[in-house]
Protein backbone atom coordinates (compact mmCIF):
# COMPACT_ATOMS: atom_id res chain seq x y z
CA UNK A 1 0.00 0.00 0.00
CA UNK A 2 1.39 3.36 -0.92
CA UNK A 3 2.74 5.67 1.71
CA UNK A 4 0.35 8.41 0.65
CA UNK A 5 -2.78 6.30 1.15
CA UNK A 6 -1.68 5.31 4.63
CA UNK A 7 -0.92 8.90 5.59
CA UNK A 8 -4.30 10.02 4.33
CA UNK A 9 -6.02 7.21 6.24
CA UNK A 10 -4.05 7.98 9.39
CA UNK A 11 -4.99 11.65 9.37
CA UNK A 12 -8.50 10.83 8.19
CA UNK A 13 -8.99 8.50 11.14
CA UNK A 14 -7.89 11.16 13.60
CA UNK A 15 -10.23 13.63 11.92
CA UNK A 16 -13.16 11.23 12.17
CA UNK A 17 -12.39 10.46 15.81
CA UNK A 18 -12.36 14.16 16.66
CA UNK A 19 -15.47 14.72 14.59
CA UNK A 20 -17.21 12.17 16.80
CA UNK A 21 -16.09 14.02 19.91
CA UNK A 22 -17.29 17.35 18.50
CA UNK A 23 -20.66 15.94 17.44
CA UNK A 24 -21.03 14.41 20.90
CA UNK A 25 -20.38 17.79 22.47
CA UNK A 26 -22.97 19.32 20.13
CA UNK A 27 -25.47 16.75 21.35
CA UNK A 28 -25.01 17.82 24.96
CA UNK A 29 -25.01 21.52 24.11
CA UNK A 30 -28.68 21.62 25.03
CA UNK A 31 -27.62 21.15 28.66
CA UNK A 32 -25.72 24.41 28.61
CA UNK A 33 -28.13 26.91 27.16
CA UNK A 34 -31.23 27.82 29.09
CA UNK A 35 -33.84 25.75 30.75
CA UNK A 36 -36.73 24.30 28.91
CA UNK A 37 -39.28 26.36 30.74
CA UNK A 38 -38.05 29.72 29.50
CA UNK A 39 -37.54 28.40 25.97
CA UNK A 40 -41.05 27.13 25.72
CA UNK A 41 -42.55 30.17 27.34
CA UNK A 42 -40.93 32.58 24.90
CA UNK A 43 -41.48 30.31 21.90
CA UNK A 44 -45.13 30.08 22.76
CA UNK A 45 -45.57 33.78 23.17
CA UNK A 46 -43.76 34.46 19.92
CA UNK A 47 -45.26 31.66 17.87
CA UNK A 48 -48.87 31.39 18.90
CA UNK A 49 -51.00 34.46 18.27
CA UNK A 50 -53.24 35.05 21.18
CA UNK A 51 -56.60 35.35 19.54
CA UNK A 52 -56.82 31.96 17.80
CA UNK A 53 -55.57 30.26 20.90
CA UNK A 54 -58.24 31.80 23.05
CA UNK A 55 -60.90 30.83 20.58
CA UNK A 56 -59.62 27.29 20.53
CA UNK A 57 -59.68 27.11 24.28
CA UNK A 58 -63.12 28.55 24.41
CA UNK A 59 -64.41 25.97 21.99
CA UNK A 60 -62.88 23.06 23.84
CA UNK A 61 -64.13 23.89 27.29
CA UNK A 62 -67.81 24.40 26.79
CA UNK A 63 -68.50 27.66 28.61
CA UNK A 64 -71.24 27.79 31.22
CA UNK A 65 -74.08 30.09 30.18
CA UNK A 66 -73.58 32.88 32.71
CA UNK A 67 -70.16 33.60 31.41
CA UNK A 68 -71.37 34.70 28.03
CA UNK A 69 -73.31 37.48 29.65
CA UNK A 70 -70.23 39.20 30.88
CA UNK A 71 -69.99 42.06 28.49
CA UNK A 72 -66.31 42.73 28.11
CA UNK A 73 -65.34 39.28 26.96
CA UNK A 74 -64.89 40.06 23.34
CA UNK A 75 -63.45 43.49 23.96
CA UNK A 76 -60.12 44.32 22.34
CA UNK A 77 -57.24 44.62 24.72
CA UNK A 78 -58.80 42.42 27.41
CA UNK A 79 -56.34 40.08 29.13
CA UNK A 80 -56.79 36.40 28.24
CA UNK A 81 -54.42 34.72 30.59
CA UNK A 82 -52.70 35.03 33.92
CA UNK A 83 -48.98 34.25 33.92
CA UNK A 84 -46.75 33.53 36.89
CA UNK A 85 -43.52 35.29 36.01
CA UNK A 86 -41.46 34.80 39.16
CA UNK A 87 -41.30 32.34 42.02
CA UNK A 88 -41.46 28.57 42.20
CA UNK A 89 -44.44 28.38 39.86
CA UNK A 90 -42.75 30.41 37.12
CA UNK A 91 -44.15 29.60 33.72
CA UNK A 92 -47.57 28.57 34.94
CA UNK A 93 -50.43 30.13 33.02
CA UNK A 94 -54.12 30.11 33.75
CA UNK A 95 -56.62 31.07 31.06
CA UNK A 96 -58.98 33.84 32.13
CA UNK A 97 -62.51 32.78 31.36
CA UNK A 98 -64.62 34.83 33.67
CA UNK A 99 -64.11 32.69 36.73
CA UNK A 100 -62.67 33.90 40.01
CA UNK A 101 -59.07 32.93 40.59
CA UNK A 102 -58.01 32.43 44.17
CA UNK A 103 -54.43 32.55 45.28
CA UNK A 104 -52.98 31.17 48.49
CA UNK A 105 -51.47 28.22 50.24
CA UNK A 106 -54.82 26.49 50.76
CA UNK A 107 -55.16 23.34 48.69
CA UNK A 108 -58.35 24.41 46.99
CA UNK A 109 -56.91 27.63 45.64
CA UNK A 110 -56.76 28.03 41.89
CA UNK A 111 -53.07 28.71 42.18
CA UNK A 112 -51.57 26.96 45.18
CA UNK A 113 -48.67 29.12 46.27
CA UNK A 114 -45.74 27.26 47.76
CA UNK A 115 -44.39 30.37 49.38
CA UNK A 116 -43.53 31.05 53.02
CA UNK A 117 -44.77 34.62 52.73
CA UNK A 118 -48.21 33.74 51.44
CA UNK A 119 -51.29 33.27 53.59
CA UNK A 120 -53.57 30.33 53.03
CA UNK A 121 -56.25 32.52 51.44
CA UNK A 122 -54.15 35.37 50.23
CA UNK A 123 -55.88 37.15 47.36
CA UNK A 124 -58.40 36.71 44.62
CA UNK A 125 -58.67 37.95 41.08
CA UNK A 126 -62.12 38.30 39.54
CA UNK A 127 -63.83 40.15 36.72
CA UNK A 128 -66.32 42.88 37.54
CA UNK A 129 -69.46 43.49 35.53
CA UNK A 130 -67.63 45.29 32.74
CA UNK A 131 -65.13 42.51 32.32
CA UNK A 132 -62.41 44.50 34.05
CA UNK A 133 -60.18 42.25 36.15
CA UNK A 134 -59.93 43.17 39.81
CA UNK A 135 -57.41 41.98 42.40
CA UNK A 136 -58.47 41.94 46.04
CA UNK A 137 -56.36 41.18 49.08
CA UNK A 138 -58.20 38.77 51.42
CA UNK A 139 -56.66 40.08 54.61
CA UNK A 140 -53.31 38.43 54.11
CA UNK A 141 -50.50 38.78 56.64
CA UNK A 142 -47.80 40.00 54.31
CA UNK A 143 -49.93 41.84 51.82
CA UNK A 144 -50.44 41.87 48.09
CA UNK A 145 -48.57 44.41 46.04
CA UNK A 146 -49.64 45.86 42.72
CA UNK A 147 -46.70 47.66 41.20
CA UNK A 148 -45.07 48.32 44.59
CA UNK A 149 -48.21 49.69 46.26
CA UNK A 150 -49.79 47.53 48.91
CA UNK A 151 -53.43 46.84 48.18
CA UNK A 152 -56.05 48.00 50.62
CA UNK A 153 -59.12 47.91 48.41
CA UNK A 154 -60.10 45.87 45.35
CA UNK A 155 -58.13 47.40 42.49
CA UNK A 156 -58.41 47.03 38.73
CA UNK A 157 -55.37 45.38 37.18
CA UNK A 158 -53.70 47.12 34.25
CA UNK A 159 -52.41 44.80 31.54
CA UNK A 160 -48.90 43.57 32.34
CA UNK A 161 -48.69 45.13 35.80
CA UNK A 162 -46.87 42.85 38.27
CA UNK A 163 -48.84 41.58 41.24
CA UNK A 164 -46.45 40.43 43.92
CA UNK A 165 -47.29 37.94 46.65
CA UNK A 166 -44.23 36.97 48.68
CA UNK A 167 -41.73 35.75 46.13
CA UNK A 168 -44.33 35.08 43.48
CA UNK A 169 -45.08 37.61 40.77
CA UNK A 170 -48.07 37.21 38.49
CA UNK A 171 -49.34 39.40 35.69
CA UNK A 172 -52.19 39.49 33.21
CA UNK A 173 -51.37 39.20 29.54
CA UNK A 174 -53.24 39.31 26.31
Amino acid sequence: MSELTLTVMRLGFLAVLWLFVIVAVQVIRSDLFGTRVTQRGSARRAAAPDRPQTQQQRQQSAPPPQRQQSGGRGRRGAPTKLVVSEGTLTGTTVALQGQTITLGRAHDSTIVLDDDYASSRHARIYPDRDGQWIVEDLGSTNGTYLDRTRLTTPTPIPLGAPIRIGKTVIELRK
Partner: protein, 470 residues
Amino acid sequence: MSSSTTNTTTISTAGPPSRRNTELAMLVFAVIIPVFAYANAGLALSDEMPSGMLSYGLGLGLLAAVGHLVVRKFAPYADPLLLPIATLLNGLGLVLIWRLDQSRRLAQRAKDAGMAFAPSAPNQLIYSALGVALFVGVLILLKDHRILQRYTYISMVVALILLILPMFFPARFGARIWITLGSFSIQPGEFAKIIIAVFFSGYLMVKRDALALASRRFMGLYLPRGRDLGPILVVWGMSILILVFETDLGTSLLFFGLFVVMLYVATERTSWIVFGLLMSAAGAVGVATFEPHVQSRVDAWLQPFEVAKNGGSDQIAQALMAFGSGGVFGTGLGQGNSDLIGFAANSDFILATVGEELGLAGTMGLLLLYGLIVERGVRTALAARDPFGKLLAIGLSAAFAIQVFVVAGGVMGLIPLTGMTMPFIAQGGSSVIANWALVAILIKVSDTARRPAPTPAPTTDAEMTQVVRP
Protein backbone atom coordinates in the same frame (compact mmCIF):
# COMPACT_ATOMS: atom_id res chain seq x y z
CA MET B 1 -49.54 21.38 22.69
CA SER B 2 -51.10 19.43 25.48
CA SER B 3 -52.09 22.55 27.32
CA SER B 4 -55.03 23.26 25.05
CA THR B 5 -57.00 20.38 26.53
CA THR B 6 -57.12 22.04 29.93
CA ASN B 7 -57.16 25.63 30.93
CA THR B 8 -54.08 25.23 33.03
CA THR B 9 -50.58 24.86 31.76
CA THR B 10 -47.70 23.66 33.86
CA ILE B 11 -44.78 24.29 31.66
CA SER B 12 -42.31 22.09 33.46
CA THR B 13 -44.14 18.96 32.37
CA ALA B 14 -42.74 18.46 28.92
CA GLY B 15 -39.10 17.94 29.88
CA PRO B 16 -36.42 16.96 27.39
CA PRO B 17 -37.41 14.87 24.40
CA SER B 18 -36.31 11.28 24.45
CA ARG B 19 -33.54 11.78 21.86
CA ARG B 20 -33.42 8.14 20.82
CA ASN B 21 -32.90 9.07 17.16
CA THR B 22 -29.86 11.13 18.10
CA GLU B 23 -28.54 8.07 19.86
CA LEU B 24 -29.15 5.94 16.75
CA ALA B 25 -27.26 8.39 14.53
CA MET B 26 -24.37 8.53 16.98
CA LEU B 27 -24.35 4.73 17.17
CA VAL B 28 -24.04 4.41 13.39
CA PHE B 29 -21.13 6.83 13.58
CA ALA B 30 -19.64 4.87 16.48
CA VAL B 31 -19.74 1.63 14.48
CA ILE B 32 -18.26 3.15 11.32
CA ILE B 33 -15.18 4.57 13.08
CA PRO B 34 -13.82 1.21 14.36
CA VAL B 35 -14.51 -0.42 10.97
CA PHE B 36 -12.48 2.35 9.37
CA ALA B 37 -9.72 1.80 11.93
CA TYR B 38 -9.83 -1.93 11.21
CA ALA B 39 -9.41 -1.35 7.47
CA ASN B 40 -6.61 1.10 8.16
CA ALA B 41 -4.71 -1.32 10.42
CA GLY B 42 -5.23 -4.19 7.96
CA LEU B 43 -3.96 -2.19 5.01
CA ALA B 44 -0.91 -1.08 6.95
CA LEU B 45 -0.06 -4.53 8.27
CA SER B 46 -0.63 -6.76 5.26
CA ASP B 47 -1.44 -4.53 2.28
CA GLU B 48 -4.95 -5.85 1.98
CA MET B 49 -8.32 -5.39 3.55
CA PRO B 50 -8.57 -7.71 6.55
CA SER B 51 -10.64 -10.76 5.70
CA GLY B 52 -12.88 -10.54 8.74
CA MET B 53 -13.81 -6.93 8.13
CA LEU B 54 -17.38 -7.49 7.02
CA SER B 55 -18.17 -9.91 9.82
CA TYR B 56 -16.48 -7.65 12.36
CA GLY B 57 -18.48 -4.64 11.23
CA LEU B 58 -21.68 -6.64 11.23
CA GLY B 59 -20.91 -8.10 14.67
CA LEU B 60 -20.25 -4.72 16.24
CA GLY B 61 -23.27 -3.25 14.45
CA LEU B 62 -25.45 -6.09 15.72
CA LEU B 63 -24.30 -5.56 19.32
CA ALA B 64 -24.96 -1.83 18.99
CA ALA B 65 -28.39 -2.45 17.43
CA VAL B 66 -29.43 -4.82 20.20
CA GLY B 67 -28.28 -2.33 22.82
CA HIS B 68 -30.13 0.49 21.09
CA LEU B 69 -33.40 -1.41 20.70
CA VAL B 70 -33.37 -2.43 24.35
CA VAL B 71 -32.67 1.16 25.44
CA ARG B 72 -35.51 2.33 23.18
CA LYS B 73 -37.90 -0.11 24.82
CA PHE B 74 -36.80 -0.09 28.46
CA ALA B 75 -35.11 3.28 29.01
CA PRO B 76 -36.66 5.61 26.42
CA TYR B 77 -35.54 8.84 28.08
CA ALA B 78 -31.96 7.77 28.79
CA ASP B 79 -28.96 9.87 27.95
CA PRO B 80 -28.24 9.69 24.20
CA LEU B 81 -24.44 9.59 24.47
CA LEU B 82 -23.55 6.84 26.93
CA LEU B 83 -24.29 3.90 24.64
CA PRO B 84 -22.58 5.32 21.49
CA ILE B 85 -19.40 6.26 23.35
CA ALA B 86 -19.21 2.86 25.06
CA THR B 87 -19.72 1.16 21.69
CA LEU B 88 -17.02 3.27 20.07
CA LEU B 89 -14.51 2.57 22.85
CA ASN B 90 -15.27 -1.13 22.77
CA GLY B 91 -14.91 -1.25 18.97
CA LEU B 92 -11.62 0.66 19.02
CA GLY B 93 -10.36 -1.68 21.74
CA LEU B 94 -11.16 -4.70 19.57
CA VAL B 95 -9.24 -3.18 16.66
CA LEU B 96 -6.22 -2.41 18.84
CA ILE B 97 -6.20 -5.91 20.31
CA TRP B 98 -6.52 -7.43 16.83
CA ARG B 99 -3.67 -5.26 15.65
CA LEU B 100 -1.44 -6.50 18.50
CA ASP B 101 -2.46 -10.08 17.69
CA GLN B 102 -0.82 -9.65 14.30
CA SER B 103 2.50 -8.72 15.89
CA ARG B 104 5.27 -11.19 15.03
CA ARG B 105 7.24 -10.08 18.09
CA LEU B 106 4.48 -11.04 20.49
CA ALA B 107 4.03 -14.40 18.74
CA GLN B 108 7.78 -15.04 18.94
CA ARG B 109 7.76 -14.04 22.59
CA ALA B 110 5.01 -16.53 23.38
CA LYS B 111 6.89 -19.25 21.49
CA ASP B 112 10.08 -18.50 23.44
CA ALA B 113 8.15 -18.82 26.66
CA GLY B 114 6.96 -22.23 25.49
CA MET B 115 3.34 -21.26 25.12
CA ALA B 116 1.11 -21.39 22.08
CA PHE B 117 0.32 -17.90 20.90
CA ALA B 118 -3.42 -17.42 20.97
CA PRO B 119 -4.97 -14.32 19.43
CA SER B 120 -7.01 -12.39 21.99
CA ALA B 121 -9.36 -10.51 19.68
CA PRO B 122 -11.90 -13.35 19.10
CA ASN B 123 -12.16 -13.94 22.85
CA GLN B 124 -12.53 -10.24 23.43
CA LEU B 125 -15.37 -10.13 20.90
CA ILE B 126 -17.11 -12.90 22.83
CA TYR B 127 -16.59 -10.99 26.08
CA SER B 128 -17.98 -7.85 24.47
CA ALA B 129 -21.05 -9.81 23.42
CA LEU B 130 -21.38 -11.09 27.00
CA GLY B 131 -20.99 -7.53 28.21
CA VAL B 132 -23.78 -6.30 25.96
CA ALA B 133 -25.88 -9.25 27.14
CA LEU B 134 -25.37 -8.15 30.74
CA PHE B 135 -26.15 -4.57 29.68
CA VAL B 136 -29.45 -5.79 28.20
CA GLY B 137 -30.11 -7.92 31.27
CA VAL B 138 -29.59 -5.01 33.66
CA LEU B 139 -31.84 -2.74 31.60
CA ILE B 140 -34.65 -5.30 31.46
CA LEU B 141 -34.44 -6.71 34.98
CA LEU B 142 -33.61 -3.54 36.93
CA LYS B 143 -36.97 -1.82 36.73
CA ASP B 144 -35.94 1.04 38.98
CA HIS B 145 -32.50 1.80 40.35
CA ARG B 146 -33.99 2.49 43.77
CA ILE B 147 -34.50 -1.25 44.18
CA LEU B 148 -30.74 -1.44 44.71
CA GLN B 149 -31.19 0.69 47.81
CA ARG B 150 -32.76 -2.30 49.58
CA TYR B 151 -29.54 -4.26 49.21
CA THR B 152 -27.25 -1.71 50.88
CA TYR B 153 -25.74 -3.99 53.50
CA ILE B 154 -25.98 -7.15 51.39
CA SER B 155 -23.93 -5.39 48.76
CA MET B 156 -21.41 -4.42 51.41
CA VAL B 157 -20.96 -8.08 52.33
CA VAL B 158 -20.80 -9.18 48.69
CA ALA B 159 -18.23 -6.50 47.87
CA LEU B 160 -16.09 -7.50 50.86
CA ILE B 161 -16.22 -11.15 49.83
CA LEU B 162 -15.30 -10.27 46.26
CA LEU B 163 -12.38 -8.19 47.49
CA ILE B 164 -11.12 -10.71 50.01
CA LEU B 165 -11.55 -13.84 47.89
CA PRO B 166 -8.51 -13.30 45.62
CA MET B 167 -6.23 -13.51 48.67
CA PHE B 168 -6.84 -17.24 48.75
CA PHE B 169 -5.86 -17.81 45.15
CA PRO B 170 -2.28 -17.91 43.90
CA ALA B 171 -0.74 -14.67 42.81
CA ARG B 172 -0.41 -14.11 39.10
CA PHE B 173 2.10 -11.63 37.76
CA GLY B 174 2.84 -10.42 41.28
CA ALA B 175 -0.69 -9.44 42.28
CA ARG B 176 -3.52 -11.42 43.82
CA ILE B 177 -6.49 -9.97 42.02
CA TRP B 178 -7.76 -13.02 40.19
CA ILE B 179 -10.11 -15.82 41.14
CA THR B 180 -8.97 -18.83 39.14
CA LEU B 181 -11.36 -21.66 38.41
CA GLY B 182 -9.64 -24.17 36.19
CA SER B 183 -8.56 -22.40 33.04
CA PHE B 184 -11.06 -19.64 33.67
CA SER B 185 -10.21 -16.60 35.76
CA ILE B 186 -12.08 -13.47 36.70
CA GLN B 187 -11.06 -10.23 38.34
CA PRO B 188 -13.63 -9.71 41.09
CA GLY B 189 -12.41 -6.17 41.74
CA GLU B 190 -14.05 -4.99 38.53
CA PHE B 191 -17.46 -6.13 39.71
CA ALA B 192 -16.81 -5.09 43.29
CA LYS B 193 -16.46 -1.46 42.24
CA ILE B 194 -20.09 -1.37 41.08
CA ILE B 195 -21.38 -3.22 44.11
CA ILE B 196 -19.47 -1.06 46.55
CA ALA B 197 -20.80 2.08 44.87
CA VAL B 198 -24.29 0.75 45.63
CA PHE B 199 -23.31 0.24 49.28
CA PHE B 200 -21.74 3.69 49.65
CA SER B 201 -24.80 5.35 48.08
CA GLY B 202 -27.22 3.56 50.38
CA TYR B 203 -25.06 4.12 53.46
CA LEU B 204 -24.28 7.79 52.83
CA MET B 205 -27.87 8.60 51.93
CA VAL B 206 -28.87 7.63 55.47
CA LYS B 207 -25.82 9.00 57.28
CA ARG B 208 -25.11 12.16 55.33
CA ASP B 209 -26.75 14.52 57.78
CA ALA B 210 -24.84 13.15 60.74
CA LEU B 211 -21.60 13.36 58.80
CA ALA B 212 -22.27 16.82 57.43
CA LEU B 213 -23.75 18.67 60.38
CA ALA B 214 -22.15 17.24 63.50
CA SER B 215 -18.76 18.83 63.11
CA ARG B 216 -16.54 21.41 64.71
CA ARG B 217 -14.92 24.19 62.78
CA PHE B 218 -11.17 24.38 63.10
CA MET B 219 -8.79 26.42 60.95
CA GLY B 220 -11.37 26.83 58.20
CA LEU B 221 -12.06 23.10 58.05
CA TYR B 222 -15.05 21.27 59.45
CA LEU B 223 -13.64 18.49 61.55
CA PRO B 224 -16.00 15.53 61.89
CA ARG B 225 -16.71 14.03 65.27
CA GLY B 226 -14.54 11.12 66.29
CA ARG B 227 -17.28 8.55 66.02
CA ASP B 228 -18.23 9.74 62.55
CA LEU B 229 -14.70 9.04 61.46
CA GLY B 230 -15.40 5.34 61.97
CA PRO B 231 -16.55 4.43 58.46
CA ILE B 232 -13.76 6.28 56.69
CA LEU B 233 -11.24 4.57 58.97
CA VAL B 234 -12.76 1.18 58.18
CA VAL B 235 -12.63 1.76 54.42
CA TRP B 236 -9.11 3.12 54.71
CA GLY B 237 -8.01 0.07 56.69
CA MET B 238 -9.64 -2.19 54.14
CA SER B 239 -7.88 -0.56 51.24
CA ILE B 240 -4.56 -0.79 53.09
CA LEU B 241 -5.21 -4.48 53.71
CA ILE B 242 -5.91 -4.97 50.01
CA LEU B 243 -2.66 -3.23 49.25
CA VAL B 244 -0.69 -5.38 51.69
CA PHE B 245 -2.20 -8.79 51.04
CA GLU B 246 -3.09 -8.52 47.39
CA THR B 247 -0.32 -6.06 46.46
CA ASP B 248 -2.81 -4.32 44.24
CA LEU B 249 -2.36 -0.58 44.39
CA GLY B 250 -5.01 0.12 41.74
CA THR B 251 -7.96 -1.52 43.47
CA SER B 252 -6.96 -0.02 46.78
CA LEU B 253 -6.75 3.48 45.29
CA LEU B 254 -10.04 2.98 43.49
CA PHE B 255 -11.97 2.06 46.63
CA PHE B 256 -10.54 4.67 48.88
CA GLY B 257 -10.83 7.37 46.22
CA LEU B 258 -14.40 6.37 45.47
CA PHE B 259 -15.33 6.59 49.14
CA VAL B 260 -13.74 10.01 49.59
CA VAL B 261 -15.45 11.38 46.47
CA MET B 262 -18.84 10.10 47.60
CA LEU B 263 -18.32 11.42 51.15
CA TYR B 264 -17.54 14.82 49.69
CA VAL B 265 -20.56 14.80 47.41
CA ALA B 266 -22.88 13.62 50.19
CA THR B 267 -21.72 16.08 52.85
CA GLU B 268 -20.25 19.03 50.91
CA ARG B 269 -17.40 19.15 53.39
CA THR B 270 -13.95 19.86 51.93
CA SER B 271 -12.35 18.42 55.05
CA TRP B 272 -13.11 14.90 53.83
CA ILE B 273 -11.00 15.47 50.73
CA VAL B 274 -8.14 16.80 52.86
CA PHE B 275 -8.40 13.85 55.25
CA GLY B 276 -8.66 11.40 52.36
CA LEU B 277 -5.60 12.73 50.59
CA LEU B 278 -3.57 12.75 53.81
CA MET B 279 -4.64 9.26 54.77
CA SER B 280 -4.06 7.76 51.35
CA ALA B 281 -0.67 9.43 51.09
CA ALA B 282 0.31 8.13 54.53
CA GLY B 283 -0.98 4.66 53.73
CA ALA B 284 0.71 4.46 50.35
CA VAL B 285 4.06 5.67 51.65
CA GLY B 286 3.83 3.34 54.64
CA VAL B 287 3.07 0.28 52.57
CA ALA B 288 5.58 1.19 49.88
CA THR B 289 8.40 1.13 52.43
CA PHE B 290 7.52 -2.34 53.69
CA GLU B 291 6.11 -4.26 50.77
CA PRO B 292 8.79 -5.35 48.25
CA HIS B 293 6.36 -5.74 45.34
CA VAL B 294 4.98 -2.23 45.77
CA GLN B 295 8.51 -0.96 46.27
CA SER B 296 9.65 -2.38 42.95
CA ARG B 297 6.68 -0.74 41.25
CA VAL B 298 7.68 2.61 42.76
CA ASP B 299 11.26 2.11 41.62
CA ALA B 300 10.13 1.31 38.10
CA TRP B 301 8.04 4.46 38.18
CA LEU B 302 10.81 6.75 39.43
CA GLN B 303 13.63 5.36 37.28
CA PRO B 304 12.11 3.41 34.41
CA PHE B 305 15.20 3.47 32.23
CA GLU B 306 17.58 2.57 35.07
CA VAL B 307 15.43 -0.41 35.98
CA ALA B 308 15.29 -1.56 32.36
CA LYS B 309 19.04 -1.26 32.00
CA ASN B 310 19.66 -3.29 35.15
CA GLY B 311 17.66 -6.20 33.83
CA GLY B 312 14.33 -5.36 35.46
CA SER B 313 11.07 -5.02 33.63
CA ASP B 314 11.36 -2.66 30.67
CA GLN B 315 7.60 -2.27 30.23
CA ILE B 316 7.35 1.31 31.49
CA ALA B 317 10.46 2.37 29.59
CA GLN B 318 9.04 0.88 26.38
CA ALA B 319 5.67 2.51 27.00
CA LEU B 320 7.30 5.91 27.44
CA MET B 321 9.30 5.37 24.25
CA ALA B 322 6.07 4.42 22.47
CA PHE B 323 4.38 7.65 23.56
CA GLY B 324 7.43 9.64 22.52
CA SER B 325 7.79 8.11 19.08
CA GLY B 326 4.10 8.65 18.42
CA GLY B 327 4.50 12.41 18.34
CA VAL B 328 1.47 14.57 17.66
CA PHE B 329 -0.24 12.62 14.88
CA GLY B 330 1.16 9.15 15.53
CA THR B 331 2.72 6.58 13.24
CA GLY B 332 -0.60 5.30 11.96
CA LEU B 333 -2.51 2.20 12.99
CA GLY B 334 -0.46 -0.96 12.51
CA GLN B 335 2.77 0.92 11.94
CA GLY B 336 4.05 1.40 15.47
CA ASN B 337 6.37 -0.71 17.59
CA SER B 338 4.39 -0.71 20.79
CA ASP B 339 4.49 -4.52 20.77
CA LEU B 340 8.02 -4.14 22.15
CA ILE B 341 6.31 -3.71 25.53
CA GLY B 342 5.79 -7.45 25.41
CA PHE B 343 3.79 -8.73 28.33
CA ALA B 344 0.41 -7.03 28.90
CA ALA B 345 0.82 -4.91 25.77
CA ASN B 346 -2.82 -5.48 24.93
CA SER B 347 -4.26 -5.13 28.41
CA ASP B 348 -2.69 -2.79 30.98
CA PHE B 349 -0.47 -1.06 28.42
CA ILE B 350 -2.92 -0.71 25.56
CA LEU B 351 -2.88 3.06 25.95
CA ALA B 352 0.77 3.02 24.82
CA THR B 353 -0.36 1.57 21.49
CA VAL B 354 -2.89 4.37 21.18
CA GLY B 355 -0.18 6.88 22.05
CA GLU B 356 2.24 5.57 19.45
CA GLU B 357 -0.07 4.82 16.55
CA LEU B 358 -2.61 7.63 16.98
CA GLY B 359 -0.28 10.13 18.59
CA LEU B 360 -1.15 12.90 21.00
CA ALA B 361 -4.22 13.84 18.95
CA GLY B 362 -5.67 10.35 19.16
CA THR B 363 -4.84 9.92 22.85
CA MET B 364 -6.49 13.21 23.68
CA GLY B 365 -9.56 12.21 21.65
CA LEU B 366 -9.76 8.92 23.52
CA LEU B 367 -9.38 10.58 26.91
CA LEU B 368 -12.09 13.07 25.92
CA LEU B 369 -14.39 10.17 25.14
CA TYR B 370 -13.80 8.83 28.65
CA GLY B 371 -14.32 12.34 29.96
CA LEU B 372 -17.65 12.54 28.13
CA ILE B 373 -18.86 9.30 29.75
CA VAL B 374 -17.91 10.70 33.16
CA GLU B 375 -19.54 14.03 32.33
CA ARG B 376 -22.78 12.34 31.33
CA GLY B 377 -22.65 10.41 34.61
CA VAL B 378 -22.20 13.60 36.63
CA ARG B 379 -24.95 15.30 34.62
CA THR B 380 -27.23 12.37 35.39
CA ALA B 381 -26.41 12.79 39.07
CA LEU B 382 -27.31 16.49 38.87
CA ALA B 383 -30.60 15.76 37.16
CA ALA B 384 -31.57 12.79 39.34
CA ARG B 385 -34.42 13.56 41.71
CA ASP B 386 -33.77 11.01 44.44
CA PRO B 387 -30.69 11.24 46.66
CA PHE B 388 -29.84 7.56 46.18
CA GLY B 389 -29.80 7.92 42.40
CA LYS B 390 -27.67 11.04 42.70
CA LEU B 391 -25.08 9.31 44.85
CA LEU B 392 -25.14 6.13 42.75
CA ALA B 393 -24.59 8.02 39.50
CA ILE B 394 -21.80 10.11 40.97
CA GLY B 395 -20.23 7.02 42.53
CA LEU B 396 -20.25 5.01 39.33
CA SER B 397 -18.85 7.85 37.25
CA ALA B 398 -16.21 8.57 39.90
CA ALA B 399 -15.18 4.89 39.89
CA PHE B 400 -14.92 5.05 36.11
CA ALA B 401 -12.91 8.27 36.21
CA ILE B 402 -10.55 7.06 38.92
CA GLN B 403 -9.94 3.86 37.01
CA VAL B 404 -9.07 5.75 33.81
CA PHE B 405 -6.82 8.08 35.79
CA VAL B 406 -5.03 5.26 37.59
CA VAL B 407 -4.35 3.29 34.39
CA ALA B 408 -3.52 6.20 32.12
CA GLY B 409 -1.39 7.83 34.82
CA GLY B 410 0.45 4.56 35.40
CA VAL B 411 1.18 3.94 31.73
CA MET B 412 2.29 7.53 31.16
CA GLY B 413 4.52 7.52 34.22
CA LEU B 414 2.56 10.03 36.28
CA ILE B 415 1.91 7.62 39.17
CA PRO B 416 3.28 4.14 39.92
CA LEU B 417 1.89 1.53 37.57
CA THR B 418 -0.96 -0.53 38.92
CA GLY B 419 -2.62 -3.60 37.58
CA MET B 420 -5.85 -2.14 36.28
CA THR B 421 -7.40 -2.20 32.86
CA MET B 422 -8.43 0.68 30.66
CA PRO B 423 -12.24 0.48 30.63
CA PHE B 424 -13.66 -1.01 27.40
CA ILE B 425 -10.50 -0.94 25.29
CA ALA B 426 -8.11 -3.17 27.25
CA GLN B 427 -8.12 -6.91 26.76
CA GLY B 428 -9.81 -8.70 29.65
CA GLY B 429 -13.24 -10.23 30.06
CA SER B 430 -14.12 -9.07 33.58
CA SER B 431 -13.34 -5.47 32.76
CA VAL B 432 -15.46 -5.29 29.62
CA ILE B 433 -18.42 -7.11 31.17
CA ALA B 434 -18.34 -5.07 34.39
CA ASN B 435 -18.08 -1.77 32.54
CA TRP B 436 -21.05 -2.60 30.32
CA ALA B 437 -23.02 -3.26 33.51
CA LEU B 438 -21.84 0.08 34.91
CA VAL B 439 -23.01 1.91 31.79
CA ALA B 440 -26.32 0.07 31.96
CA ILE B 441 -26.95 1.28 35.51
CA LEU B 442 -26.00 4.84 34.53
CA ILE B 443 -28.43 4.65 31.60
CA LYS B 444 -31.15 3.40 33.90
CA VAL B 445 -30.60 6.24 36.38
CA SER B 446 -30.50 8.82 33.58
CA ASP B 447 -33.74 7.41 32.17
CA THR B 448 -35.43 8.02 35.52
CA ALA B 449 -33.80 11.43 35.88
CA ARG B 450 -34.75 12.70 32.43
CA ARG B 451 -38.22 11.18 32.32
CA PRO B 452 -40.76 14.01 32.23
CA ALA B 453 -43.01 14.32 35.24
CA PRO B 454 -46.46 12.87 34.58
CA THR B 455 -48.92 15.43 33.23
CA PRO B 456 -51.69 16.30 35.64
CA ALA B 457 -54.98 14.61 34.81
CA PRO B 458 -57.56 17.01 33.37
CA THR B 459 -59.93 17.89 36.15
CA THR B 460 -63.63 17.46 35.56
CA ASP B 461 -64.61 20.60 37.42
CA ALA B 462 -61.99 22.72 35.78
CA GLU B 463 -64.27 25.72 35.74
CA MET B 464 -64.88 25.91 39.43
CA THR B 465 -61.53 25.16 41.01
CA GLN B 466 -58.25 24.58 39.33
CA VAL B 467 -55.36 23.33 41.34
CA VAL B 468 -51.99 24.19 39.96
CA ARG B 469 -48.96 22.62 41.51
CA PRO B 470 -45.32 23.10 40.58
